[in-house]
Amino acid sequence: MLVANRGEIAVRVIRALREMNVASVAIFSEADRRALHVQMADEAVPVGPAASSESYLSIPRILHAAKITAAEAIHPGYGFLSENAEFASACERAHIKFIGPSSQTIEQMGSKTAARRVAIAAGAPVVPGTQQGIRDYDEARRTAAGIGYPVLLKAAAGGGGKGMRRVDRESELESAMRGASSEAERAFGSGEVYLEKLVDRPRHIEIQVLGDEHGHLIHLGERECSIQRRHQKVVEESPSPLVSERPELRHRIGEAAVRIARAANYTNAGTLEFLADQPGNFYFLEMNTRLQVEHPVTEWVTGLDLVQWQIRIAAGERLTLAQSDIAWRGSALECRVYAEDPLNNFFPSPGVIAQYTEPAGPGVRVDGGAYAGWTVPIEYDPLLAKLTVWADSRGAAIERMRRALAEFHVSGITTNLGLFARLLEDESFRAGNLHTGLLDEFMRTFAERSATSDDHDEAAVAAVLAAVSAGQKKIDGPTANGSANRWRSEARQGLFR
């Protein structure tokens, strides 16, 4: 089987294939010859230059790689071509099994406006707003006035925060629309945007579904992904603290998700994203017709291997689990470890990893794609690893995550590991009072709270060792007249790790 992706998710899929005794084929761009997924696969095929458009997004090159390795199936991972209906369709035509739903389903559910229509028809609640792309500013102005500010502008063709703008008043609408549209155009090749009601302090809750190709479809419960930066998830968990407070919500949102997925004839693994407000009302947002980055938290609590199920379902196997077979145990958390600088607006920090040590021990799982000495390439998403933990309660999972974060050491590049260590001490986070703006609020005070450590002893020893390591392996003793060969070492403590 060919894995049409790179980084940690390619490694994740290769591991599943090895456990199923299926040979794996990696693909790699010129920037990725040294990437971990290339080393871990049974075979690896170059597919072009560093630019994704000419390698990981090149349908002909990937199909060619599948052909020369006689791959019978392709796992697309997430991102890249995973939600590209044309790719799925090209696979179908080439008689290569695409691990995911049919190209028709991807096409239908890939458009947020179309997916919304499916959801409404299936009787699921949606956020008030337009059902299709807005033609012009006038229409936008009228619609927004009808819904009432604040409203949210979103790209019809994509996700991940690209082409998304919050608009608080009409005076901001026109320029926001222009910005969102051109960003969407650049990111997804379509500038179509739509408008919807902005839910205050919303929580992002999503439902994992799994359906076989014989008409059986179930849900595996929710994940809460309210901790986001630039509309990108960075911390995810299951169960959602909101659901833990209101256990009936899992059933209600899960039922809605299953209704929508069934209406779309959905097969394989997929995720339905919902907004929930604090009282527990929820609204369907969109569907991701692929494996989700944060699938490990669902694997922890349900005990199911989602990637293996994806492959079995694609092979035509029946999903042998009834909804009533699904049980949830304990609490799982994920932190996405990025090569980025939280104090510089989460700007990516590619470069050479000098040291890299992953945590281990009870209840800790690392899905990584990096190693010491590797250069994080500038061309791709800077996700280094996903750190997930499980424990029997959310509180214990948080403590376990703190322990694991303290064991996770990356140097040479800047990462967000230190941010997580602080966030996990945040009172709102610990209380489970999450909303999608929590991280932004947290960041406002993060720099100051992180600025000081008065551990001078520690700093002093660090300074000595820096000097020793820099070649001053031997420092002479004082000379006869008492003057020493001295040097001064100045330590500025980093604001955070």
């Binding site: 700007f347 660090a462 300074a463 820099a470 060969n485 500025r492 790790r497």
Partner: protein, 171 residues
Amino acid sequence: MKLRVEVDGEEYLLDLNRQGSEATYQLRGVSNESGQASGLASVVETQAGVYSVLLGNRSFEVRIANGREPAEVWAGQHRYLISQADARDSAGKRKGAAAVGPQEIRAQMPGKVIGILVAPGQHVEAGQGLIIVEAMKMQNEMRSPKDGVVSKIKAVAGATVAQGEVLMTVE
């Protein structure tokens, strides 16, 4: 405060001066000096660049990422950027002086210049945007560290720049 530090058998004596949140260290070899230390640290290098430190009974790890200047050094969970200077040239190079004199604006990471927001000779204020560099599909606007005049612009729109490359100078 004085601290005796033993690194793989070699002994060092460290004078530590605290000045607010910053600290200055003086380090001497102490092979033939009488002990004046208030504490003893024992250090062994367990892997290349990784040191196990026992400061009294307290145990922590120090990791030295690389030999860059300043060196990136981790002690436990804290990151320190440590630069070394001879005692003779220690004066005058303090942090507060940073925004005095000509300031070079350097690329923080490899990327592509996608916008130059100022012209040579232009007056700029501290915090004003100067140039936009894109990397990994994200745009980073670099701002002026001081009030001044843009003296030189080396960057060219559309060009690829390396990390640390000088983009322009503000005087």
